[in-house]
Symmetry: C2
């Protein structure tokens, strides 16, 4: 009972809105000016166009969950933990935006609309969209390293920079994208769980896992905390993807802001094809329960601000 009351008292919407505002401000700051002007304009077009910001919010929430018990809090007691992970959160959002730009290109998904706006290549042309994506990949690493607080240990920052490369590269996001491409349109439509799991562990899972693990590593949390957050990242990443696949079948076009049924039409390897709608819902309930236990057993949320718990539930119960 107590748990429920506490959750009700916590104003999750106000929390999200405040943290998002801080992030948007930093993103705009990190991407201000720059030349060649048109390249920066193309990069800003995709990064500063809103979106849920789930990855960045997870990073901020994870930082709050391990603060003030971490190394950095002891080394620099006046430092604000949200401020300290902003370069990391911004880098993650840049990588995410970059992946959408390249995914939308004619040689991949050939999408004209993204979040209700024309896709990057529709506005800036294919060549510029390609280069804006390349630019964002490198800008993400640059911002992470150049803008991180001087109190952060170089060895921790190196670990995180390495983790970002791995989560994004051939064994992570890019690899998942290739697998998705290989299986999409596969006429027989028989996907086993291992295949779908392996696609999504790379394509969306690796970066979401990183978004929760990295702030803990950066601020110098204990190894146990880092690992618990990494596991929570796997759970949220998987739950997020199953929900995405469900919404494509059960969602409403107006609420979604995109046309449902695209996965089916393009014969994507989705969780629905493995489990069916009911099976996917059951799987989601299991993921939610595992996430809840993990958070409570590892005291990752404090009682008055169940931030990670709320984000877990949000990933599953969202309508778009």
């Amino acid at each position: 009972m107590l748990e429920t009351n506490v959750t009700e008292r916590f104003d999750f919407d106000a929390y999200l809105s405040h943290r998002r505002k801080l992030l948007e401000h930093k993103l705009a700051l990190y991407m201000d000016g720059g030349e060649p002007e048109v390249l920066w304009e193309a990069m800003r077009y995709s990064v500063l166009s809103g979106g849920k910001r789930l990855r960045a919010l997870l990073t901020i929430a994870a930082a709050e969950s391990i603060y003030p018990g971490c190394e950095l809090a002891k080394a620099a007691p006046d430092l604000d933990c949200i401020e300290a992970v902003m370069p990391l959160a911004a880098a993650i959002e840049m990588i995410h935006a970059m992946s959408l730009i390249h995914d939308d290109l004619p040689c991949l998904d050939n999408d004209d609309l993204r979040r209700g706006k024309p896709t990057n290549h529709k506005v800036f042309g294919e060549a510029m969209a390609l280069l804006a994506g390349d630019g964002l990949l490198m800008l993400a690493s640059e911002v992470l390293i150049a803008k991180s607080d001087k109190h952060i240990k170089p060895a921790n920052l190196l670990d995180v920079a390495l983790g970002l490369s791995r989560a994004t590269g051939p064994s992570g996001m890019v690899g998942g994208q290739v697998k998705d491409m290989q299986f999409t349109g596969s006429a027989e439509g028989n996907f086993d769980m291992a295949t779908v799991e392996s696609i999504h562990a790379g394509k969306t899972g690796a970066l979401i896992r990183f978004a929760l693990w990295a702030p803990a590593r950066l601020l110098g949390a204990s190894e146990k905390q880092c690992q618990s957050l990494a596991r929570l990242g796997e759970i949220i990443g998987l739950a997020f993807q199953i929900t995405d696949d469900l919404l494509d079948v059960t969602g409403d076009a107006t609420t979604l802001g995109k046309t449902p049924g695209k996965d089916e039409a393009s014969q994507k390897a989705t969780w629905i094809r493995v489990f069916g709608v009911d099976g996917a819902r059951k799987k989601l309930a299991l993921m939610e329960a595992e996430g809840e236990s993990l958070i409570s057993e590892n005291s990752l949320d404090n009682g008055s601000a169940p931030v990670l718990l709320s984000l877990l539930k949000y990933s599953i119960n969202r309508e778009k």
Copy 2:
């Protein structure tokens, strides 16, 4: 007189061939296996396809030029300086290969041949070539950080990782590529020196400058040595590009391995359009003289192995 004799005794070809062999071995090792298999095959196709390896050779030569006087040599006397910069040299070659893959794509230069072989997208398709390029960008950072020797100071490695992002990103290589695209085909054909300089400082210059500066920073050379090598990198990068532009006008198709006259046909912003052929040759002579002084004044080569001097001359006097 002495200078000439020493240079003649030094077997530059044997040197190049030995260092290239070490590099090729490491590249193959760093890129062995991996899945999804087709993605790794596509990445290997472009990275392990030979080429001059100028950037990696410059990195190795710069490391040799500051050894054994640097911090790392004192901290770990048994460490081999060539071995120590191999992850860096490999990362630079991966970035270079990635830039060629994306440059060759239909939406950019639309080239079918590279080094006498079909381009990446001709073999693997556009989508895979796009993703192989993205994968290589991240693999480069991963190899640099994960494979670097544990004796290298984390703060130095971080500086180098940051330098790599900057040399490659929107203010470096990617930015130069955008500028090149903006000016190519410009019908009036009036390019001033500042425009051409700014294109090439980004497109090829930034990575070549980095290739010379980074090993010095990584191994802990003095700030003066780092700066001298960075300047030498600017000189070699510029000389290399002017020579490239010259060869496109005066070169022979068989020796070049590609069709000359492409720059003129596609109205590229080249040094020849700024200076003319004779002017470009004069400019090259000036660059060579400045490079020679810089090397000798800063004792960057030892007498018996004028490696950097030979690489400077090679960048200018090559026939392909």
